[in-house]
Each structure stands twice: as structure tokens, then as C-alpha cells.
């Protein structure tokens, strides 16, 4: 028994392989697109997982530090620590900003955290954790900083003492972890010009600069420059409690908004990246249609090119099933080559993308099944033409 499909491929192998390669690159793009979407979702999940929090306590009626601005006093954490079911609670401050990296601006999310508490990086790839309570930083490797580098944030210089990986904001910006007090200062302290202007304005106000009340002006000015706010309190719950059990009393008695992990995931994954996901979904659909069209077109042209041979086959009494099988096998083979090339290509170029591209094995399997189905469907057009051919055409 000889393989008709194999023989035919051997006959025009270069065309076949090149077609497979081209199709592969198209499938690679499709897989990458899916990877980009998965990467966005994974960025959001990474943010949640890296914070190692079970509950997010945020300003009342806000959606928390990731979706909108939330500001609470930094002593709220103490009252939260005293609530039933709270195992650990820590202040955290998030601030997206540009830092200088070798003369170029690098967008990072500065995270103010308390070492060893929720919100701090869980693992490192180099260096050490922060041991001083000021002017040290742990950076994500994607920031491009190396150990010992100096980062200038506002008026202070921070030394990078540790590197971590996959610590990103929901937008994919790499994180830079700094001690809590420094982050508070960075986020809420005004720049020097603003402080000087404010001082002058306060001094010009007779209510604060009253003759006969020495010290009043100084007191008012000291009050203006203090920063005692954080963005959220991260809570880890004690064993034996459900997140909702712990969240409800905080909501009721502390008058703060509390999100559980599910709630936060909903905000991050569903609300924040919904539009981007739809955009990518549109691309995926278009790419799938284009791929199917190309496969159908290629198989159809290949079949048209050997209509005479098919007529001969028919003439010598080959069954329709065998001819259909040949075309289907060729189409499926094309799909397999395309998939393999696409998968390899996507894996190779994936890390070069500026944002995280996550290629899941599940997506790959789904892609394979979709490709084969597409190829099978696309081959039906060619099969119809082949079966309709008149055996007489072979000698006509």
C-alpha cells in the first residue's frame, strides 16, 4: 500500500514545506496573540499572587489601589490588626512613575512595603531583601537595574540590593520595592518648589501668622508637609476563617471598603482589561479566518494543479474515498507542520515582546485542534472539485 499523499508531497515538496512554513508563521502570530491576552490576565494574577494578601482594605467606596486612587491613614493598619481573623496586616503604597535608567526614562510601579509582610516580594533571583528602613530597593529584573545600581526617585537615591522576577503591575510595569516610609514620602511629599511656595502662602495668611502668637506659623507649616497616608492595607487571614467572615466586620465597623481575592480579581481581570481583551479577541477571530482562508486557498490550488493526475487516478479505477483521503491528509499535514512551526516560532519570539506573553499548553492544544479542524474544513472545497472531475479529462 503506497501513500498517495506522501508521494504527491514528495513530488512537490519544496512548495509544500514553504506553504507549511508560511502557515506556521501565521499560526505563530495567532498563538502569540492568545499569549498576549493570557499574559495580561497573568499580569493581573501575578499582582494578586505577589501581594500574598487575602483581603484588600481600601478607602471607602473606592475600587482599591489598582483600579483607582485610594488613600487611607497609615494607622488604620493597627485597628485592622486587632480585628478577629486577621493573621497579618501591612500597609502598602503603590505609585506608578518614571525613573531614570541610564539617561532613559523607565516606567515602573514603586511599591512601598514592610519587609516580610504581605506586599513584599516573595522570592528573589539575586541579591538580598531590604534590611535598612530607608533608601534601599528591590527591583524586578525587567526594570533593567542590576545589583548595586542607584535609582533616583524624587530627591532621594536608592541602592538596588535585590532583584526579583514577574513582579508587575496590572499594566505590566515592573515593580520597584522600597521601604514604606520612603514610598509615603515619594507619593505624598511635594517637591521643594511647591513646599517653598506653600510656606510663603501660609506666611502671608494673617490667620496663621498672627502677631503675638510666636510658633503658630511653624506649627502650621510642619503640619502641611507631613504625609501619613497609604493606599491600602493588605490582610492575611488566620486559618479557620473565610475571607468574607473577616471582611464583613471591617466593612461594618471601620467604614472602609474591603475586597476579597475574588473581588479584586474581578476588578483587575474583568474590569481593567476588558477592552484590551475584546480587542485581542477581535484580532484572534480575524487571524483564524485569514488562516482558514489561506489553507483553503493553498489546498484548492494544489488540487487544481493536479486535476489531470486525479482524472488518471479515476480512470484507472481509484475509489473516491482514496482521492478524498489524499487531499485531506495533505491538508492535515499542512496543519501539523504549520502548528509545529507556529508553536516554536511563538516560543522563540515571545520573550522579545515588551509585555509578558504567556503560552499555555492548554491554548496550544486548543490551537492544534482548531488548526486541524480548519484544515479539514478547508479541504472540503478542494475535495468537492477533485471528486467532480471527469475521468475523461485525463485523455481529453
Amino acid at each position: 500500500m503506497i501513500s498517495l499523499a506522501g508521494r504527491d508531497i514528495l513530488h512537490g515538496w519544496s512548495k509544500y514545506v514553504l506553504t507549511g512554513l508560511g502557515l506556521g508563521l501565521l499560526i505563530g502570530v495567532t498563538l502569540t496573540m492568545a499569549g498576549v491576552y493570557r499574559g495580561m490576565v497573568d499580569d493581573a494574577h501575578a499582582l494578586l499572587a505577589n501581594s500574598r494578601a487575602d483581603l484588600w482594605v481600601v478607602q471607602k467606596d473606592t475600587q482599591g489601589p489598582y483600579a483607582e486612587s485610594s488613600s487611607i491613614k497609615d494607622d488604620v493598619v493597627r485597628s485592622v490588626r486587632g480585628m478577629p481573623g486577621v493573621a497579618a496586616a501591612a500597609n502598602v503604597a503603590y505609585l506608578t512613575m518614571q525613573v531614570q535608567k541610564g539617561g532613559q526614562d523607565q516606567r515602573v510601579m514603586v511599591v512601598g512595603m514592610e519587609p516580610g509582610m504581605p506586599g513584599a516580594p516573595g522570592y528573589l533571583v539575586a541579591g538580598r531583601h531590604i534590611t535598612r528602613n530607608h533608601y534601599e530597593a528591590v527591583a524586578d529584573v525587567k526594570t533593567g537595574f542590576a545589583l548595586g545600581d542607584t535609582v533616583r526617585i524624587r530627591r532621594h537615591h536608592y541602592t538596588v540590593v535585590g532583584l526579583t522576577r514577574r513582579m508587575v503591575s496590572s499594566g505590566g510595569d515592573p515593580m520597584l520595592f522600597v521601604p514604606m516610609k520612603d514610598a509615603q514620602e515619594t507619593q505624598f511629599l511635594k517637591d521643594n518648589d511647591a513646599i517653598v511656595n506653600d510656606r510663603a502662602r501660609t506666611a502671608a495668611n494673617p490667620a496663621f501668622n498672627r502677631p503675638g502668637s510666636p510658633g503658630l506659623l511653624e506649627a502650621v507649616q510642619a503640619l502641611q508637609t507631613s504625609s501619613r497616608n497609604v493606599n491600602a492595607v493588605l490582610v492575611q487571614i488566620a486559618p479557620g476563617f473565610t475571607p468574607e467572615q473577616v471582611a464583613e466586620p471591617i466593612r461594618r465597623w471601620k467604614h472602609l471598603s474591603v475586597y476579597t481575592r475574588d473581588g479584586m480579581e474581578d476588578i483587575l481581570v474583568v474590569k481593567l482589561i476588558a477592552n484590551s481583551a475584546k480587542q485581542i479577541g477581535m484580532f484572534l477571530v480575524i487571524l483564524a479566518i485569514v488562516s482558514a482562508a489561506i489553507v483553503a486557498f493553498i489546498i484548492y490550488t494544489m488540487t487544481m494543479g493536479k486535476l489531470r493526475e486525479i482524472a488518471v487516478l479515476k480512470l484507472i479505477g481509484t475509489r473516491d474515498r482514496t482521492i478524498a483521503g489524499m487531499i485531506l491528509q495533505q491538508a492535515l499535514g499542512l496543519g501539523l507542520i504549520g502548528f509545529a512551526v507556529g508553536k516554536v516560532a511563538a516560543t522563540v519570539w515571545g520573550p522579545a515582546f515588551p509585555k509578558y506573553v504567556l503560552l499555555l499548553p492548554g491554548d496550544a492544544v486548543a490551537g492544534l485542534v482548531a488548526t486541524l479542524l480548519m484544515c479539514a474544513l478547508a479541504s472540503t472545497l478542494a475535495i468537492r472539485v477533485a471528486l467532480k472531475v471527469d475521468p475523461g479529462a485525463a485523455i481529453g
Binding site: V17, G116, N133, H134, V344, L360, P361
Partner: protein, 402 residues
């Protein structure tokens, strides 16, 4: 033997297919979730750790003065400027005396008048005494006459009354004299008080110091207690250090300190903890300590300015020999603190009790590990028990991150 072109083509295609399958297999197993997690391991060793306390603070002057008037008034003149060194007792500024001089002159006149009054009183005493002497003589003569019954008893009684009156007159005159002396004392005291007030309007340096601020100029009206000039003793500069309460164990007076001033980031100055404040800051959760300089940096100016930021590292004595871990190896897993230990090639979580930590990130492992255990130092992602791992020499190439 020449190869059949059909066969060679088949071999070529087969090779291509094999290469593709191999690439696919490599890709599936080496990347993505099926790939092993790369980790870098370290062996637990014994050693001692030198814990240190790090904090930031501000340069402050231990001795500083606000020089100002004790009563409200207008500044007449300021004689010194900011940065100028002053000696104890040196006149720095003067307040406007307003009517004090006139009041002094008035008191002087009152004093002169009181002295005249005293003289008049003295003369009155002499006059009264003369009257008394005359009355006494008259009485004596009349007593003799009365004994011989030359005059009536009534006439003698009149003489006695004259003597008593003269005695009373002397007493009154002497009292007047005493009163005028007291008047003079009162006026002298009043004048002295006024002179004191007048002197108080001169603001003088309480000690050898440097002028740090000139807060009022001639013509400014200041209230009692408001500063016209601020002074400080430049030899008394120290750092008010703030240390995170959670990392302040061992903070005690006498600890050696390394001070880095904001103005001299590359320079380390020696110092010593002079005092640990009994009151901690409950809002910022920091403890306060005063760190004195061993020697102030020399320079054209003071060498350090008050209010300047300083970073201070306090070295604590090294601990006894114990197991040591890099703090990068310490992770939180299911609410426990510990490390990932490699045992027979598989990962297991070992809860560890941690001791003190050095500033270089070395931390004491008090329990839960044995010497020579291999633990995960760095990992590519968060680890789970039994996760597939591949041990590598270095996770991030030295000298730079990708």
C-alpha cells in the same frame, strides 16, 4: 553508489520533520508551565552575624538659645549678623526704651526731693528737741517755785504739759525723719528696678555661640518671649537619630556610630550614641536617640548645618556562632516563615525560627535546619512542595540583568 533522488528527497523531508518534532518537544518541555523552575541553592553554614542598626536623623544643636526681650517692645537695633561668633555677655541687640530714661530722670528728681525732705525732717527734729529742752528747764524752775509755794499747782501742771508736748513733738519729728529715709530707700529701689529694666533691654549673649538666625530688625515690634536672634553652640552639634522600633533591639548609649551627612555622602564620620530617649515616637513607630560626633568635620563653615539629614549606622557586637542564612532564602509559605530545603532532589518547606539579622542580609537560623542543609536561595517563581526544579549556578548573569 549514487543515491536515488526519490530516497534523498525522502531523507531530507524526514529530517526536516524530525527536526520540527524535536524543536516542538524542546519548546513544550523547556518553556512554559511544564518547564522546571530554575533555582539557585546555597548550603547552610555556621558563622556569626554582626547585627547593625540603621537609621536616619537630623543634625541638631544640643544647646541653642532664642534671645529676645522679656516684655513687648520695639527693636532699636541689632548688632550681630547670622554666622557671627559671639562671646558671653556680648551685646547683641537693643530694645527701644521708649520713656524709661524720662522715668529715670523723674525718679532721680524725686530722690533729690526726698533727700531735701529728709534734711527738713532733721531740722524739725532739732527744733523739737530745743523746744523740749526749754520746756524741761521751765518745768524744773517751776517745780522749785512750787515747792516754796510761789506758784499754784495749776501753773506747775501747765509746765508739765508743755514738757509732754515737747516730747511728743520730738517723737513726731523723729518719725518724720525715719519716714523720709524710708522714702529715699523706696525711691532708690524704684530707680534700681527701672535701671534694671533699662539694662534688660540690651540683649546679650548667654554663652559663646554662633548666631543662627536674625529674626527681627530695627523697628520691628516683638512680644515677650519672641526671638530677635537665635544662637547655638557649634560645639554641641549632634544627630537626632530615628530608628524603626522593630529593628532597634540593642540600641543603647555608648554604641559606636558611623555618621554620613547628606552634604558629604562619601565620607563617614565617627560618633557615639549619647542618649537614648525614654519616649519613642508612637506615630511613626520609631525610637529616638542622640548621636554625638567624635569630631565635627572641619571646613570653612561649621562643617554641618542644623537640620541637615544624616544616615547613621550603629554596629552591635557580633553574635555567637550559629547557623546562618541569606535573607533571600527566607520565604513565607502558608503563613509560616521558613526556607525551601532540597532533600534527595525534592523540595520541602522547612519552617525556621529566625534570629537577628545583619545589614548585609545575613540572618541567624535558630531552629529548623541542620548544618550542611541545601536550601533554595533564589528561584525563578514562587515554589510549591514537590515542584520540578533545575538547579543552576546563577539565575541572573552577574553584572547585569536582562
Amino acid at each position: 553508489m549514487k543515491m536515488n533522488p526519490q530516497t534523498s528527497r525522502r531523507l531530507l523531508l524526514g529530517g526536516l520533520a524530525l527536526a520540527l518534532v524535536a524543536a516542538l518537544a524542546f519548546v513544550a518541555l523547556r518553556t512554559g508551565p511544564l518547564a522546571p523552575i530554575k533555582v539557585q541553592v546555597v548550603e547552610v553554614k555556621k558563622g556569626s552575624v554582626s547585627p547593625a542598626i540603621f537609621g536616619i536623623g537630623q543634625v541638631e544643636a544640643q544647646r541653642s538659645w532664642m534671645v529676645g526681650p522679656t516684655v513687648a517692645g520695639r527693636v532699636l537695633g541689632v548688632k550681630v549678623d547670622v554666622g557671627q561668633a559671639v562671646l558671653p555677655g556680648q551685646a547683641l541687640a537693643e530694645m527701644d526704651p521708649v520713656d524709661l530714661d524720662q522715668r529715670l530722670a523723674a525718679l532721680d528728681a524725686s530722690l533729690a526731693r526726698a533727700q531735701s525732705a529728709q534734711q527738713a525732717s532733721g531740722a524739725q527734729v532739732a527744733d523739737a528737741q530745743a523746744r523740749r529742752a526749754l520746756a524741761a528747764a521751765n518745768l524744773k524752775r517751776n517745780e522749785d517755785l512750787a515747792r516754796q509755794n510761789f506758784i499754784s499747782a495749776g501753773a506747775l501742771e501747765a509746765r508739765s504739759q508743755e514738757v509732754a508736748s515737747a516730747n511728743a513733738g520730738v517723737a513726731a519729728a523723729q518719725a518724720n525723719l525715719g519716714g523720709s529715709a524710708q522714702d529715699i530707700t523706696r525711691l532708690r529701689a524704684e530707680r534700681a528696678a527701672l535701671a534694671q529694666q533699662r539694662g534688660n533691654l540690651k540683649l546679650v549673649a548667654p554663652a559663646a555661640a554662633v548666631v543662627t538666625a536674625r529674626e527681627a530688625e530695627a523697628g520691628t515690634t516683638v512680644v515677650a518671649g519672641q526671638a530677635v536672634l537665635r544662637l547655638m553652640d557649634p560645639a554641641s552639634l549632634w544627630v537626632k537619630l530615628r530608628v524603626d522600633q522593630g529593628r532597634s533591639a540593642g540600641l543603647a548609649p555608648g554604641l559606636m556610630a558611623r555618621i554620613t551627612l547628606r552634604s558629604r555622602p562619601g565620607e563617614t564620620l565617627a560618633g557615639q550614641v549619647a542618649r537614648v530617649e525614654p519616649l519613642a515616637d508612637s506615630v511613626t513607630e520609631e525610637r529616638l536617640a542622640m548621636v554625638a560626633f567624635d569630631a565635627l568635620p572641619a571646613g570653612a563653615s561649621l562643617g554641618a548645618s542644623v537640620g541637615e539629614m544624616a544616615e547613621v549606622t550603629l554596629q552591635l557586637p557580633a553574635t555567637a556562632q550559629s547557623l546562618l542564612l541569606p535573607n533571600a532564602a527566607v520565604v513565607q509559605h502558608e503563613g509560616q516563615t521558613g526556607v525551601w530545603r532540597l532533600k534527595d532532589g525534592t523540595l520541602e518547606f522547612a519552617p525556621v525560627t529566625l534570629g537577628v539579622q545583619g545589614l548585609d542580609g545575613t540572618v541567624q537560623a535558630l531552629g529548623g535546619l541542620d548544618e550542611g542543609d541545601t536550601v533554595v536561595l533564589y528561584s525563578q517563581t514562587a515554589l510549591k512542595p514537590g515542584a520540578r526544579i533545575a538547579v543552576v549556578e546563577q539565575l541572573v548573569p552577574a553584572g547585569g540583568a536582562k
